[in-house]
Amino acid sequence: MSVATAPEPVPAARHAPFQPPGIVGQLLRRPLALFGLVVILAIVVLAVTAPWIVPFDPNEQTFDGLTLEGSPLAPNARFWLGTDLLGRDLLSRLLYGARTSLLIGIAANGIAVAIGAFVGIVAGFFGGIVGAALMRFTDLMMAFPALLLAIVLAALFHPSLWIVVLVIAMVNWVQVARIIYTETRSLAQREFIEAERGLGAGNARILFRHVLPHLLSTVVVWGTLGISTTTLLEATLSYLGIGVQPPTPSWGNIIFENQTYFTSAPWLVFFPGLVIILLALSFNLVGDALRDILDPTQKGRH
């Protein structure tokens, strides 16, 4: 369209009155992203300091933690968020659970992004038979129901925290691989890559100096957006009983353990559910904002 030929964007070369704000600065300017950052930061701080701030041992079944009839206590002055079916303090379990859930979220997602990026870049940049084989394998994995795969893997190995991490990574890398593959493919066909070849640049140089920097924003965005999906998947797995094994608390298995009391003690499901949603939402908000900030089409517009 002729809009594109309309006035050339004023080259930003003119004396910029101030340095454009960095990524963090731009994040802080967006209210939603700021909210997300604050929530994430708060959860991380609480998780790290959990051993010192918990009012009770998360696995201790306090003798006054149940009513005389043996049902959980509602939130009160002693147990701020109430107690669970075994008379354990819910707040303490949630704080300890944050450690598990965050660890799984970050580790599993990190591994998923690493595998996905590697597969995507190799297939996209080098192509050929290896690339085709890798991408068909990715398609296969994508077509396989994720939960079924997770259940099979969890059944084969004895469930433990690191197995859960591995299972989630195995399920999640495919989407990253697809996206990175497409991006690498289109990058590899850009004219400046051909220009580099014309200058005599080898594959390694082109890959590391001219392709990877362009993929960085995608990787960073997936690194944050993916954490929310991972946390939710951990909750799902734990809910199905193939995730983190009791008595270790994780947000997912807290809900799983207490689901039968949902009608008589709704807080047992409400509070862990709330923090899961809050964390997932926060990572989504930050990831969205990062994607906008790092989007190359926004370059030069600040």
Binding site: A12, A195, E196, G300
Partner: protein, 598 residues
């Protein structure tokens, strides 16, 4: 014109358009006023950023609001001020009263709807007729824009039509409701010269038949001279000069208009000269370097490039694109060989084959080295002798790197320098191509088109090559910028004795800067010779057609009748196992070779 001293169809007063920038609104059209008379062609000429496209969008009220808006002014059309009309009313005028055609015929047609559907939609939006009637009108309109077999075309999708045909469909769509004003924004810029001539002729004929007034926006002074009654020269949003076409061309009052006209290479301006001429001047190039050394620097023989198109269940090769089909040429030291032809003729592929960027067959020798079958590692030493400058200087520079590191990169790749040495060499190169070394730490998007092309030239120069392949290297630039970049290229040739393979579709530029010219058609060279031989004594019918199709920037040499060519350019696509007939070049004296059997 036999019209009454009529009232203007469109009367624009003090139009001011602003776009939003981080540092507040910027005025891109500043106090524009003009009257458009019935049946008149008004050309708005200017370089990129002059506000000519913004003017068109303002008049159509198609500005991308709220990023851009009309700040003040009026445009009276049919007694009403377009700038004050509610959107609802304006929509009725668009297409019916004022129609517009855009530069890119591919992107302005919807690819998922048939031509017929889009044409009838345009009719039904403004006329209270039935679907059958609308379809008949559509077919009638296609016939008027000289599209053969209109009934069949109506059922086709845009991708099934060639570029020229698509632009004709756009024109049919614009004129189908009989608008009083047609705004054409660079309607032929994306088209080949022979197709351009057809489209310009068509617009002129239709204008005569329908009595439409035309506002033609173009950067091409040749098109202006060919089409305009009146010309408005714009620069930085203001009208610099406004007058009848003859006056603008023969007695320009403003310096800017004079510069603009001087920068335009004119086909035929070189008649009778031996060597090339420096761009934008009448000075012949320094005759210092005589071409006595006949040993060619680059020798290409029987170069063939074919791309397989696989299909069917077994992914067998079913068709082949015969992009380049057995061509031969040589480039001598300090010589410019131009490769001309229209899109799809294989000229760019030839350049890429020389750079070993596409698989090819045949024989290429560069500075004595045979490059057949070289891998990217073994090709590396050859790349010091041959470098390439691409068409789009923005696409060929990595947007995330500083320009200094981009220009210095070849030195690092070939381990010719390191650290400080690279910086010093890059600084020198920057100065050499007319940029300041302080700009080294900037990114490509901070530069204008011409500056970016200088950066690309600096990068190509960093290895001190003997040959540079320049693939449409000045086509994307404004004429004045183009003249300066061409000047730089010629200066470098005088100084360093570089040879160029200058790939271009622009006959006037080619005539100006080349020593020898090769004309390509459908993957084969049909005529090759010195500049004088090819331009002053063209023998092949295709060469003649190319030369005659170029609009000349001189209204007194306006062609009354464009030669209308029937049919489309044949395709270089052949079923596997067959191929085009090879042409045989016959030397008709002094190295002027022509394909006589085609």
């Amino acid at each position: 014109m036999s019209q009454m001293p009529a009232t203007p169809v469109l009367s624009v007063r003090d139009l001011r358009t602003q776009v939003a920038t981080p540092s507040g609104p910027r005025t891109v059209v500043d106090g524009l006023s003009f009257d458009l008379m019935p049946g008149e062609t008004l050309c708005i000429a200017g370089e990129s950023g002059s506000g000519k496209s913004m003017t068109a969008l303002s008049l159509m009220r198609l500005l991308p609001e709220p990023m851009a808006r009309v700040a003040s002014g009026s445009a009276i059309f049919g007694g009403r001020d377009l700038m004050a009309l509610p959107e609802e009313e304006m929509r009725k005028i668009r297409g019916d009263g004022i129609a517009m055609i855009f530069q890119e015929p591919m992107t302005s047609l919807n690819p998922v709807l048939t031509v017929g559907k889009q044409l009838t939609e345009a009719i039904l939006a403004h006329r209270d007729v039935g679907a059958g009637e609308a379809r008949k009108t559509a077919a009638e309109m296609l016939r008027k824009v000289r599209i053969s077999d209109p009934e069949r075309r109506l059922r086709q999708y845009p991708h099934e039509l060639s570029g020229g045909m698509r632009q004709r469909v756009m024109i049919a769509m614009a004129l189908v409701c009989g608008p009083k004003v047609l705004i054409a924004d660079e309607p032929t810029t994306a088209l080949d010269v022979t197709v351009q001539a057809q489209i310009l002729g068509l617009i002129r004929d239709l204008q005569r038949d329908f009595g439409t007034s035309v506002i033609l926006i173009t950067h091409d002074m040749g098109v202006v001279a060919e089409m305009a009654n009146r010309v408005m020269v714009m620069r930085e949003g203001r009208v610099i000069e406004n007058g009848p076409v003859a006056e603008i061309f023969h007695a320009p009052r403003q310096d800017y208009t004079r510069e603009l006209l001087a920068a335009v290479p004119r086909l035929g301006a070189m008649t009778g000269r031996e060597g090339p001429m420096r761009a934008g001047t009448v000075e012949p190039v320094a005759a210092g370097r005589t071409l006595t050394n006949p040993a060619p620097l680059v020798e290409v023989s029987d170069l063939t490039v074919r791309f397989d198109i696989k299909g069917g269940l077994l992914q067998r090769t079913v068709q082949r694109v015969h992009a380049v089909e057995g061509i031969n040429f040589a480039i001598r030291p300090a010589e410019t060989l131009a490769l001309v032809g229209e899109s799809g003729c294989g000229k760019s592929t030839t350049g890429r084959a020389l750079m070993n960027l596409v698989p090819w067959q045949g024989d290429i020798r560069i500075a004595g080295r045979n490059t057949a079958g070289l891998t990217s590692q073994t090709m590396k030493p050859v790349r010091r002798d041959i470098q390439m400058i691409f068409q789009d200087p923005f696409a060929s520079l990595d947007p995330r790197k500083t320009v200094g590191s981009l220009v210095g990169e070849p030195l690092a790749i070939h381990e010719l320098a390191s650290g400080r040495e690279i910086r010093e060499k890059v600084a020198w190169l920057f100065e050499r191509v007319g940029l300041s070394p302080e700009q080294m730490s900037r990114h490509p998007h901070e530069f204008s088109g011409g500056q970016r092309q200088r950066i690309c030239i600096a990068r190509a120069l960093s290895l001190s090559p003997k040959v540079i392949v320049a693939d449409e290297s000045v086509s994307a630039l404004d004429v004045s910028v183009q003249a300066r970049v061409l000047d730089l290229l010629q200066e470098l040739q005088d100084e360093l004795g570089i040879s160029y393979l200058f790939i271009s579709h622009d006959m006037a530029v080619v005539e100006q800067i080349s020593h020898r010219v090769a004309v390509m058609y459908l993957g084969q060279i049909v005529e090759i010779g010195t500049r004088a031989q090819v331009f002053e004594d063209p023998r092949h019918p295709y060469t003649k057609r190319l030369i005659s199709a170029v609009p000349i920037a001189d209204p007194s040499r306006r062609r009354e009748h464009f030669k209308q060519l029937e049919g489309e350019v044949p395709s270089p696509l052949w079923p596997a196992g067959s191929g085009p007939e090879r042409v045989r070049l016959t030397d008709i004296g002094d190295g002027h070779a022509v394909a006589l059997n085609a």
